[in-house]
């Protein structure tokens, strides 16, 4: 997982920029808006944002470094959950 996190900017940043990354969902939304001649589907994520890590970026860091740090932030959250849930269960078993 650490290796995947370290190489993730190759896929998530470099190759994404190379082909002007857009998912099929973006393609479908653009087609609907074009057919309707107005904006039906409007991505509001930047208008109402609550996190400094939006789109796996970290303020002050280049995109590739932010992508790696984001991967480790995510992994850290699961590690904390693991220690809290699995570790707590282990402690309960030992004391009973």
């Amino acid at each position: 997982m650490i290796a995947l996190a370290l190489i993730s900017p190759i896929f998530g940043v470099w190759l994404a920029n190379l082909i002007n990354y857009h998912e099929p969902l973006d393609v479908a939304a653009d087609l609907i808006n074009q057919a309707a001649n107005r904006t039906i589907l409007n991505d509001t994520r930047y208008q109402m944002n609550w996190t400094p890590f939006i789109d796996y970026t970290v303020p002050g860091l280049p995109d590739w470094a932010g992508y790696i740090v984001s991967a480790f932030i995510g992994l850290a959250i699961y590690l904390v959950l693991y220690m809290a849930l699995v570790g707590r269960r282990g402690r309960v078993k030992r004391t009973s």
Partner: protein
């Protein structure tokens, strides 16, 4: 495949949230979370990182792995719901990848439909075509059907009733093509685990 905020009208958002909560309760009652807790959390971490790898198709589009079929094959579809729920919650709350109003729809697509389709395909095909090809088809079918469902959800906007006739073919077509990557990854991982660590493969 993560539907952002602003793509679903309030009624669709409310209905998808209600379906997510109802299925979540059902899945909790039928899951074995205590038994599979370590694996559920480990898989959530692995799928979170795997979803950060976007696979580009030159001249077209790109996608990331979903992992619904893989999780369902390894821990069953009801435990897989919680794997994908954990992934989608972290993505939405920490990285704003996928919206809050659309969390219900995203969980339905990636945490309900993808695991159920993948699980059913793998279970039906494994006796006939072996581990790799059944897992390959499971991965391909899971992302294709989940992508089609996402197309249906964003196309059912009451402000443009014919939207689904545009969004469903676009989503189904691209996901059927890009699902080959999901199928290949699912096939290789399940084949590897079946040989090296069969205790981690539930089916």
């Amino acid at each position: 495949m993560h539907i952002p905020d602003g793509y679903l009208d309030p009624i669709s958002a409310g209905v998808t949230w209600a379906i997510m909560l109802a299925y979540g309760y059902y899945a909790y009652r039928h899951s074995e979370l205590q038994k599979y807790m370590e694996l559920v959390l480990s898989l959530a971490a692995a799928i979170f990182v795997a979803q950060m790898l976007n696979w580009p198709i030159p001249g077209g589009t790109s996608l990331h792995m979903v992992g619904g079929a893989l999780a369902a094959i390894l821990v069953g579809p009801f435990n897989a719901f919680f794997v994908l729920l954990l992934v989608l919650l972290v993505q939405a709350l920490v990285f704003h990848d996928g919206g809050i109003t659309t969390l219900g729809a995203n969980v339905i697509n990636m945490g309900v439909i993808a695991p159920l389709v993948g699980y059913a395909a793998y279970k039906a095909l494994r006796p006939r075509v072996g581990v790799f090809w059944s897992a390959f088809v499971a991965g391909w079918a899971s992302i294709t059907v989940a992508g089609t469902a996402a197309g249906l959800e964003i196309g059912l906007s009451p402000w443009f009733p014919y939207g689904w006739t545009i969004s469903v073919p676009a989503m189904a077509g691209w996901h059927a093509l890009l699902g080959l990557v999901e199928g290949a990854i699912t096939g290789f991982v399940v084949l590897y685990l079946s040989k090296r660590a069969p205790e981690y493969v539930r089916l």
